[in-house]
Symmetry: C2
Subunit: 163 residues, 2 copies
DNA sequence: AATGAGATGTTATATTGTTACATCTTTAAA
DNA sequence: TTTAAAGATGTAACAATATAACATCTCATT
């Protein structure tokens, strides 16, 4: 077994943020999309940790920034970022998390810790294939697949649940 | 290939409803849970078709029934029904659908047609296994798995999309 | 400089879900 | 059979999430 995934161990998180922003710039440039200051700022905020952030959390920070933003501002930025594969929405949490595979077209899977809320994004070809086969067996044409697994991450499952 | 699944073809839907209610009664009886009139009525409404229903849709029908219900009434009934595995919440739709495997403990998968909104619930062991392996590879302990696949059902994919 | 597309501002509102507390019903014990 | 306790429901208010509609601004290109 290899060591744990990045979000599960101490790491230089500013490197994650920096990488994410840098990826975003190149993705947008390649596709002639405008990574405006608001959009970039929202992406940066979403990346402030590996825990997903709600739209209104983002809004609150923008307010602290002195930016007098209303909900549509945030939702538009998030829509844009989703559209270019820079963030994902976690449906079971109504929250958003930075995409760790920016630019790559992929079906992903989220491991969501219910204790520390950390989210790990994986691409699991075996899962994707199994899903594709199951769909096909029903003559269903899949377009968007959501796979969200709630449970305990390695750090939290080694401690007694503090609830 | 076998013929399509029940929700995809004409069928005597009242038989589905009848079966669901009957299953619910036995599940509740076995577990000493009280399937009260409200709970049973909500279950019946959820089963009115194979398309998921929002909590406020249920509420509206209860109002037509002459039942002066408020949101907590519906959410409590839905919570109860979920707890006993009689309905599922579809996170990507904020809506609820009848469980077609009542009583069986299972990880399920939903095929959600974006055109007609019909939902087909499947149990796909290959998918579950792949998910379990992916989790294990990250030392993650899964508890709840959500798999929702949006796309076109066989009926709707054979027609041009009318959007 | 003029135009038009895209981006943002602004106000209001829609939709979904919860809190908190009062009241009623059922169960089962005293 | 009363009585307590647990569970279920009623009720009002509100919190959290998301969108509609329209005005204004910015920027790239003419």
């Amino acid at each position: 077994m290899s060591s744990s995934a990045i979000p599960y161990r101490p790491h230089n998180h500013s490197a994650c943020v920096h990488q994410a922003l840098s990826d975003a710039r190149s993705v947008c440039q390649r596709q002639n999309a405008r990574l405006t200051p608001i959009r970039e700022r929202v992406l940066e905020l979403i990346w402030q940790s590996h825990k997903p952030l709600g739209a209104y959390d983002v809004l609150a920070v923008l307010a602290e920034d002195g930016h007098n933003a209303a909900p549509p501002t945030v939702y538009r930025a998030l829509d844009f970022l989703q559209q270019y594969g820079l963030v994902h929405r976690i449906a079971s949490l109504n929250a958003f998390t930075g995409c760790t595979h920016a630019g790559e077209h992929h079906t992903c899977l989220f491991l969501i810790c219910r204790a520390c809320r950390t989210v790990l994004e994986l691409t699991a070809p075996a899962v994707s294939d199994a899903v594709a086969k199951a769909s096909q067996a029903e003559a269903f044409t899949p377009e968007e697949t959501i796979i969200e697994i709630a449970g305990l991450c390695p750090n939290c499952s080694s401690e007694p649940t503090h609830e």
